[in-house]
Symmetry: D2
Subunit: 389 residues, 4 copies
Amino acid sequence: MPGNSFGKIFTITTFGESHGQAVGVIIDGVPAGLRLSQEDIEFELSFRRPGRLYVSGRRERDIPEILSGVYNGRTTGSPIAIIVKNTDVISSFYEEVKIKPRPGHADLPFIMRYGYENWDYRGGGRSSARETVGRVAAGALAKKLLMYHDTWIAGRLKSLGLVDSPPADFLSILCSKYSPVRASDQDTELKFEELVKQATVEGDSLGGVAEIVVRNPPAGMGEPVFDKIKADLAKALLSIPAVTGFEYGLGFNAAKMKGSEANDAIVKRGEKLGWRDNKSGGILGGITTGEDIVLRCSFKPTSSIRKPQGTVNLMTGEPAEISVIGRHDPAVAIRGVSVAESMVAITLADHSLRSGFIPPVKLESKEAEIVENRWRRYMEECKRTEASR
Amino acid sequence: MPGNSFGKIFTITTFGESHGQAVGVIIDGVPAGLRLSQEDIEFELSFRRPGRLYVSGRRERDIPEILSGVYNGRTTGSPIAIIVKNTDVISSFYEEVKIKPRPGHADLPFIMRYGYENWDYRGGGRSSARETVGRVAAGALAKKLLMYHDTWIAGRLKSLGLVDSPPADFLSILCSKYSPVRASDQDTELKFEELVKQATVEGDSLGGVAEIVVRNPPAGMGEPVFDKIKADLAKALLSIPAVTGFEYGLGFNAAKMKGSEANDAIVKRGEKLGWRDNKSGGILGGITTGEDIVLRCSFKPTSSIRKPQGTVNLMTGEPAEISVIGRHDPAVAIRGVSVAESMVAITLADHSLRSGFIPPVKLESKEAEIVENRWRRYMEECKRTEASR
Amino acid sequence: MPGNSFGKIFTITTFGESHGQAVGVIIDGVPAGLRLSQEDIEFELSFRRPGRLYVSGRRERDIPEILSGVYNGRTTGSPIAIIVKNTDVISSFYEEVKIKPRPGHADLPFIMRYGYENWDYRGGGRSSARETVGRVAAGALAKKLLMYHDTWIAGRLKSLGLVDSPPADFLSILCSKYSPVRASDQDTELKFEELVKQATVEGDSLGGVAEIVVRNPPAGMGEPVFDKIKADLAKALLSIPAVTGFEYGLGFNAAKMKGSEANDAIVKRGEKLGWRDNKSGGILGGITTGEDIVLRCSFKPTSSIRKPQGTVNLMTGEPAEISVIGRHDPAVAIRGVSVAESMVAITLADHSLRSGFIPPVKLESKEAEIVENRWRRYMEECKRTEASR
Amino acid sequence: MPGNSFGKIFTITTFGESHGQAVGVIIDGVPAGLRLSQEDIEFELSFRRPGRLYVSGRRERDIPEILSGVYNGRTTGSPIAIIVKNTDVISSFYEEVKIKPRPGHADLPFIMRYGYENWDYRGGGRSSARETVGRVAAGALAKKLLMYHDTWIAGRLKSLGLVDSPPADFLSILCSKYSPVRASDQDTELKFEELVKQATVEGDSLGGVAEIVVRNPPAGMGEPVFDKIKADLAKALLSIPAVTGFEYGLGFNAAKMKGSEANDAIVKRGEKLGWRDNKSGGILGGITTGEDIVLRCSFKPTSSIRKPQGTVNLMTGEPAEISVIGRHDPAVAIRGVSVAESMVAITLADHSLRSGFIPPVKLESKEAEIVENRWRRYMEECKRTEASR
């Protein structure tokens, strides 16, 4: 299988370039009977949308068109094709990029791999973060499907540059959806905004760390020994543009600890066994424990910055400078939270199907109704907090 | 595909439990014509062997038997089955584990997933690090195959507990193979040894960070957008028992930087384009740049420790304590370096085949000879440094 | 992987229902640098087009839109999305099908699998032969790619009902493209037409056998032991709606022979070894021999016929009759030839990439030009014969 | 994935050469909790065993060793490795084959693909039918697993050379296991034996057709559009050495029929819908209908015959003759029945898991017991008929 597909049962294949006709995704392996509307997809897409405050100035509303796999508002078990047309495209800047590949960008590696004459340099082509539209559309579906066992996924920007967030409860993380900088509290929001404004003034950009929390995952997901849930999540997150690291639970800090500190006592809670402090982030032996899954990934700063950077002129072979003046996010990590959430949702939907926690072929009407109700509640839960901001 | 296979062309499938008949691996997708001997495999296996100083006291020599796929010392293009019999097995301790699952261990998740009555609790069963014998055997083959384009892989224990190593050149990292604690210099080796002794006395264990460096990888490997080389490496490493985090290049530090700091100028070196400081660790846009690949993964401390830990007695449902007295490494990170190297080698061999840098069906005799010579030189290079220690 | 994808390197994923928005295909794993135009796709699509003489009356021109993966007329190495909108759709007839599932059709099995309420019954939904539009679009690309080693694929309707064709040379088979009944000679064409007319009058339908010939395939393709070229071809052809059997070379006749009859002497032709009579149809041990590949598949008669057939009324549970009055081919085998050719092309393109006969990442400009010239010659070769009819 | 694996959930990987150390199989994706013993495997292996009357004189008992994945007589959910050592090996004859490749055999294609110097020519190496030991071992497990929904698989030699069998009921087909020529009735058995004796005297061999019947399969298995159950069965059967064709239901005969003849009326049987005559062989739209699955595959005559055949001397380049004097079956189709049954079982076990008819992770104790009882009954059913012969 080539590289544009992900997942073994719940499988997505994305396609499309930044300045091409459209970007999109095929989602295969979705059981029949799930209610699905354009609004469900658009709800999640709205949180990665460019044109929001502090993110890229590109002004697309990103309207998803469902081309197949849904009939009368229900999935049919056939592959679901969703496309989003590219409308607000300005390719003129990229004539410079064509000659002067950007440092920190995929320009030169794409040339090395595919050949200069075959390179779609406009807007980053296939390496553009615009490709992630398809992931977020599929993520919406995955999140909805996970409502089958009432599993909810939330994410926030945990740190931006040198500013870190305090711990937060699940609902605050969920509601960061409506924060323009994906902060989970208002104090941090102000600090993040200050940083972003400053970086914009300086023509520079910022890195950050996204944190994703999964509430109420089923215990027992994950396939030893290579498709451990931690392994598939790591792949999912590192497949996102600009992500440079992944950790779950104690993560890199565990490397500095002793066993007696890092281990987590097994305890009884009512009739069920669990772990006292969930130090392992909901995963042990590569299998979910039933505790919340907690993970983080680091985003490097946006590579495209106004500050001049050293490169080489491909026509002359001489050293050159490039100052990137397109519309770019000052911190890709902000919109990256939405993409990271989606990849987590897709990975878990796949494993949930693989482990038999969701039936592979069809949902019964009753089940579909429960899923629909939980999904409505999820959307309201997010919006309620918006009102309170 | 279930979870015990890894790779798309160069594909490994491991099998076997800690206290079963044997552990082993099937390696499929190896081109015909590669020279391969039991010694090649044993060379690499010797560096993960239990029974060495500072690691588990289990005294197996781990002799690999090649059951198929090799004729007259050459691979035939058929799958290569390698098994290592389990000989030094003492299961008696595990009668306690059977009743009191170990904190920080896969015992309870395996019970949750597969059912108590189907659980092979002896020695950790399938979740034991013994499973990695197959990975290291396959890693030996992968490393040898990568000699086709003269790509070398080396690893070291970068940090143990709170002690970090200074930077090191490639050969020093390569030669850490012969350090009992996988240190890349003698000063660090002494510090690491001190830590290990202390932990052993305390009945405790230590976490650590492994660093892997790949010299001279071909530029242009990695398949957008999900099979980015960074994504497949992340999965490879997180599939290793006890690994809790992955990063490459600037890794998590990139999240604290500005774009102007994290970007790396493109420069011309002779006729070729490259990157001035290799800040991206040899990977941009998920594609190899031709610079050295540099990555790290964190290992948590060994979960099995002598210090008593809180658990639950599965028979009575009462709280209990367990003090693990089997033969366990004080720091799995030490032997983990060898496994991490192997997983990197396997991932790169797979991608090298996928990108056409190694011919998929057969090597010509001349090519096989060059590979063999480079491999001999690699083994000598390692040994030479052993002498100098 | 769910069932809507095919191939391991050259991979296609089809989507879309008969009366939905569109049908389409994602083609991944195509090397960069191949010249590709809408016309290339449309050329092949025109031969499966409904609305031609003797086939379904549906009057769509089937205009392919390439949404991604092509820039400046060349493939970029990114996935190629092609959609064909559904325009001439009349769903009214299917209100009857919704209540009375058609004998010989996928109606009832779809209900059994996916649930009645999730069933898109309009036009057969996903089980409609309209899905094969995506296959033929991908097949055009595959056929063009195979020009890399000058491999040509041709197909004909070998038999229709009880009428069989005489042997034919490769060019006559190629030129059956322009015969309204895919006959390879004019005498047979007349006989086939007569049969079709008669079946139409009777409100009945006809079965037939398609024969595909591959000229000049590379020797050495096919992966023992499960991905033998014969196994993957069998799967490819049996995945086509209405196909009920597959054979290659001597096929089922071999079962009636003695070894001394079925074996084929090895001979020397110039410097190369070959087989005297190509009895094995170009495949031995599941590997291509370099001789022409020859295979056949049987199509059952179109299930949708005007003649009343026994079924059950799903609302009342009573026995019922259905007379299918939609626009249906009197013999699906006629248009099936085009689909069968496409599936053979897709399978061979995949195996050619797997075996390294086509470079996996990019074609050099020179190579792409040679491919383009051969493709032009191929199209002319077909058309030339049209003129002579 | 390279070619030595088959299946998506229930996945087998075979390895080993005819005259190497061992042949074997890894079976992954088996739920925990299934009772499994060496005897279960050996029972099925005994019916493909060489050394039985009328088949190859090789005298191996083929004792399967289960190396992993089973503890206390139950599967654990981990991969199950089974090996069978090669004991009765005589390689001397193959020194002639090394110089004179056999007509009708994989010798020359293997040389073409993998290179002469990498070719394991002893006993056919990897292309030998001995590889199918692993398939039959895995098939035993698959057949047992299918007892979960009481699905039984039986096969017979339907025709040998020009002699065809009359129709037979399921139990007669099942009991052909104990016929030395896999005949389903004694009259046919005598005719088949006569043919075999005659061919042996002539130094020649015979082709034949195997027929497999699946009783009581669940309705609704098969994944549109490429992993149709008919497509995966076709691949499964064509992956067997010497198989040259596949058909199900009416098969190639359907091509000669009219729709009104080939269609099958839908009828009500009690509360369930079904098809009157099961003309479609239990498959419609690529999905199981719940009726018996009926399929056939053609085997060509054994290529290795005593009668001299034309070939080329690879050393001199001159025409040559070869008379194959090793121990070879006069009709591979006889033992092929057992392999065909196994491949059908493996395919159905995989699809049953994919469609959720068997739980993917574990069987409850109660379920395992039911499976065990049905399996016992299955073995007795076979043996009972042996007694009556």
